[in-house]
Symmetry: C2
Subunit: 598 residues, 2 copies
């Protein structure tokens, strides 16, 4: 097991000697191009050795890598494996390469799942030994994996034992026996880490014996039909006096994604024994069926803020009903367990130098760690940066404009769509690019007003910038879109400004800025910096860490100790409430302005 | 609180000074006639003071009781209350008076239910105090009734607190908060003690705050459609590989009786927070959904023999889903928790002199206590003594012959039916009377053969004794009926013979013989003694204690300490396995014979 430090991402992975770097990097959610599934034919998965040793250059590399690259230390990640205990490598960054989901098997080598599964053989019942079957089983599991037994696991036990020579495959969860099956049952125990986002439910299926990611899938959060943002969903729940419908919707979403993962991988729901769930506090509450009414008005007190482990049956999830479902604790009313998971996954609290992590979404969570202190906040950034509530906004699917360059004269020099399809609208990264370009070129002034320009015209909804001829009509960006984005960026910038101020830090003190979340992954660093979404730091200090919330959920899934660590971490995190911070209004008003940098 | 010893029942009740004896006796399941609901007009509830003092004779008694009775110490139970600490009274026995169900609130004064319910007022959430609602609630319940909170109790808590000035009615079960309701919720917390018999499900509804019996009800065990006896139901479950259908059937039965109790008393199922369940081991397993396959063949090992407390939701019961359901432990494969409940309710283990308790049914459990030792056994007595599998047998409903006298010439001198309706068949007590009479008069000889007699004729099914002209044809008692009853009485007698032998006791050593169960209640003591159903003791040592299994379930319901005591008692009880006892065959063969006594 080698410790491999990955530049410029800034994380350390533990990679086995038998494992190639590509597999390890992809599993860890680090974006690296690869088109040939690791066969060595595309030669795109370039990594450069910094320090330490890798296995020798293979024949495939000798054939596919130009000699000048080899001399410069470049290797193909699919061919190279660790050959010393400590290694640092540099990954060729991939700009706008799309990865919806990212994952990790951090600490794979030290996984300690809650679930244990093994074959046991019991002494048969005789006239001299009439102990109850359950008592017999518990005595045989005294090694520590069975201190008690769930009723559900005992129901068929008498039949199994008597039909299979007193042998059974027994699965335990946290020393509680939760399943007993005939000895021919060969299935490994599975677990699922779930990240419930406002718009998406992302799930990662793990083989818990091996601590190995098997598959991952995302579905739209079925709550979307009740409102695109958290606030409107809470309002709905409050009107209805309870979580009811919204709660069912999110459970349906989780069951839907479980169904896909089970079907695609031939896994029986019965063999999913463990689940960890992270999400913002509203999603956390709704997933648990807790009324979110307290989150709808000051002082935004949550219903529950403790870590919870429930039986799956209590939540109606399509997995083993006796299995466990663990919810790491939310930090505050608007800083959820997903933010805790980000802090845990980036190891923010244990960095020697000041670091910041942020997860941009409808709600943006920001955390800063320095000198043993961790402070977190959140700001309502709205869905504009994800392409929602923008006149020609759309989801990041084929036909969405994801990359835009605006030249100094304010004219589009590049308009790239996903899949190179005729343009249908703008997705999040396209919106950011476009706005940054318009601000830099002066088409939008510092106050956010559109100026006269040959592409600016008066449309039905006021002034609009005509970006391109779309597939079914011109794609425009309207004055109102600028205002929506201005509010969002003002909120986000106020968040990191006040957090840094609180810890007595300047942006330049930040050693690293971790950008988490699907959105961050496609973001152009320059555009994001120019729009104040990120604190002004040198570009190479910005690391896109993918779905770090999902990684945190995975850490908790494959290692019960991580659950305890996260609960402790939660207790350490200070919450900065922007809503009641006296400085907020002044900072926010200032940060609404665009500052032409770069 | 006075200790009142009741003769000839042989139990001691604790009766409050404010309580009249009739209420206390009826609540304790002691049969006493009363037709006027305690108004003093029927003058039937006669009791005679033995020692100690009662309140003074009331005007009602002076008016209604003839002076010779008053002079003889007789009182009306509905008028008299305890007036000294220790009292003994004699209850006028009622012969064949019918009481299907009996109950008790033994130790009412010392009830310590698992359930506590009270109004709490919490400090409101403020900007300075943003603790989670649940944390706030737990802090307020630190008095001991809330060390943790069920998710189900927290779901609506945020709405309740914010709509009702941070006040809520909170119910806890064993220091776990299981319900939170608006402050106007006035309902008391309810609990139900359930006795699941092979043929009947009997339930007792209690107000847990007052420790008071509110109502009781019995329904037929819906499993009856799968076979009348336990063995055939186990066989069915074994064939089906699991408890499935049978388990649903018994759950349906419990829910049905819960429904009746709730409707009739205006109780919401949500306000039933606790349940205790006793039954034979097969019913215990099936109620829990446990496969009874181990009970179907030697060595008859149960699936579970530990005390269990489950959430109601796990069992699908129509009560508060977060409420608890407690199952006292079974003693062995064929000696259930109902037998444990009988031993607990009769305080058998703490008697100074040898005592025996038996509960006659399809399966008959017998326990003997002497000198700190308690030994129990069970025998498969079949349903014949309950009127099943008897040619003209029937349930104890209107038209059933319940009382028969046969004169020395073998002729019926009395044939009484329930409700004085035209005769339709024979119920259990009628069968016992009839057989005892036929044996005594010599119509049936010691080997069980019917002799020539003017009422014995050859029928379709062999010899038959024509008892009476029934409503729809003659009621006969056939040779095969005698054989079925012979097997049953042989099994029961072998049980008590071997138990006594094991403890080195003679029947004459027995200070008291407690006869539990609905069947016992209608039994003629003389007939039962003549047929060997009871060990040969003087009649006045036989006490009919009604549904003592139900009383044990009630004790556990209203007092959590009784649950622990029963678990300890279970550990003390030795099980005598007749199936493997070398003496059984010889004793059984001998006891098949009828011995004309009396």
């Amino acid at each position: 097991m080698a410790k491999v430090f990955i530049e410029p991402v800034g994380v350390t992975l533990e990679i086995g000697e038998e494992q190639d770097l590509l597999t390890a990097l992809l599993a860890a959610g680090i974006a690296i191009p690869s088109d040939c599934a690791g066969r060595g034919t595309c030669a795109k998965c370039l990594v450069r050795l910094g320090s330490g040793e890798l296995t020798e250059v293979t024949e495939v590399e000798a054939r596919r890598l130009p000699s000048h690259l080899r001399e410069d230390g470049w290797r193909l990640a699919c061919q190279a494996r660790p050959a010393s205990g400590r290694i640092s490598i540099e990954v060729r960054q991939t700009g706008g390469r799309r990865r919806i989901l990212t994952t990790s098997k951090l600490q794979h080598g030290h996984a300690k799942p809650a679930v244990l599964r093994r074959l046991v053989e019991l002494p048969p019942a005789t006239l001299e030994d009439k102990r109850a079957d359950q008592e017999r089983l518990l005595a045989a599991c005294a090694r520590g994996d069975g201190r008690q037994a769930a009723l559900g696991a005992t129901r068929e036990l008498p039949d199994i034992l008597r039909h299979h020579h007193w042998r059974a495959v027994v699965t335990s969860y946290d020393a509680r026996i939760v399943d007993a099956e005939p000895p021919e049952a060969q299935a490994v125990p599975y677990g699922v880490a779930v990240d419930i986002g406002t718009s998406k439910v992302i799930a990662y299926l793990f083989d818990l014996d091996a601590g190995r990611l098997v598959d991952q899938e995302a579905v739209e959060n079925p709550q979307m039909r009740y409102g695109e943002d958290v606030i409107s969903r809470i309002a709905r729940a409050v009107d209805a006096f309870g979580a009811g419908e919204l709660s069912s919707a999110v459970r349906d979403g989780v069951n839907q994604v479980l169904g896909v993962l089970c079907d695609r991988n031939g896994v029986e729901p019965r063999h999913i024994y463990d689940m960890t769930v992270v999400g913002n506090t509203a999603m956390h509450h709704l997933a648990l069926g807790l009324s979110p009414v307290g989150l709808g008005a000051a002082p935004f007190a949550p219903a529950v803020a403790a870590p919870l482990t429930l039986r799956a049956a209590e939540l109606g999830l399509a997995m083993n009903p006796e299995g466990g479902v663990h919810f790491p604790p939310p930090i505050a009313g608007f800083v959820g367990s997903d933010a805790l998971a980000v802090v845990a996954a980036t190891h923010l609290a244990s960095k020697r130098r000041p670091c910041l992590a942020l997860d941009i979404g409808t709600n943006t969570e920001i955390a800063v760690a320095h000198d043993g202190r961790v402070t977190a906040t959140s700001c309502a950034s709205g869905p504009a940066f994800e392409g929602y509530q923008i006149a020609h906004g759309m989801k990041a699917v084929a036909g969405a404009i994801e990359r835009v360059r605006i030249d100094a004269a304010g004219m589009p020099s590049e308009v790239a769509t996903i899949g190179n399809q005729p343009a249908l609208g703008l997705c999040g990264s396209g919106v950011v690019d476009l706005l940054a370009g318009l601000v830099t070129s002066g088409v939008v002034d510092r106050t956010g007003r559109m100026q006269e320009h040959e592409l600016v015209r008066k449309g039905e909804n006021g002034l609009e910038y005509v970006l391109t001829e779309g597939a079914i009509g011109p794609i425009v960006f309207i004055q109102h879109d600028v205002r929506a984005l201005q509010l969002a960026k003002g909120a986000i910038a106020s968040g990191w400004v006040l957090l840094l101020e609180n810890l007595g830090l300047e942006p330049s003190d930040l050693h690293r800025v971790y950008v988490a979340g699907a959105f961050g992954n496609y973001l152009d660093v320059g555009a994001a910096l120019r729009l104040d979404l990120l604190p002004p730091v040198p570009r190479d200090r910005v690391a896109f860490v993918g779905n770090a919330a999902g990684v945190g959920a995975q850490m908790a899934l494959i290692d019960v100790r991580a659950r305890r660590r996260m609960a402790k971490l939660r207790a350490r995190i200070e919450f900065l409430d922007l809503a009641t911070d006296a400085r907020f209004n002044e900072v926010f008003t200032r940060r609404l302005q665009f500052a032409a940098r770069d």
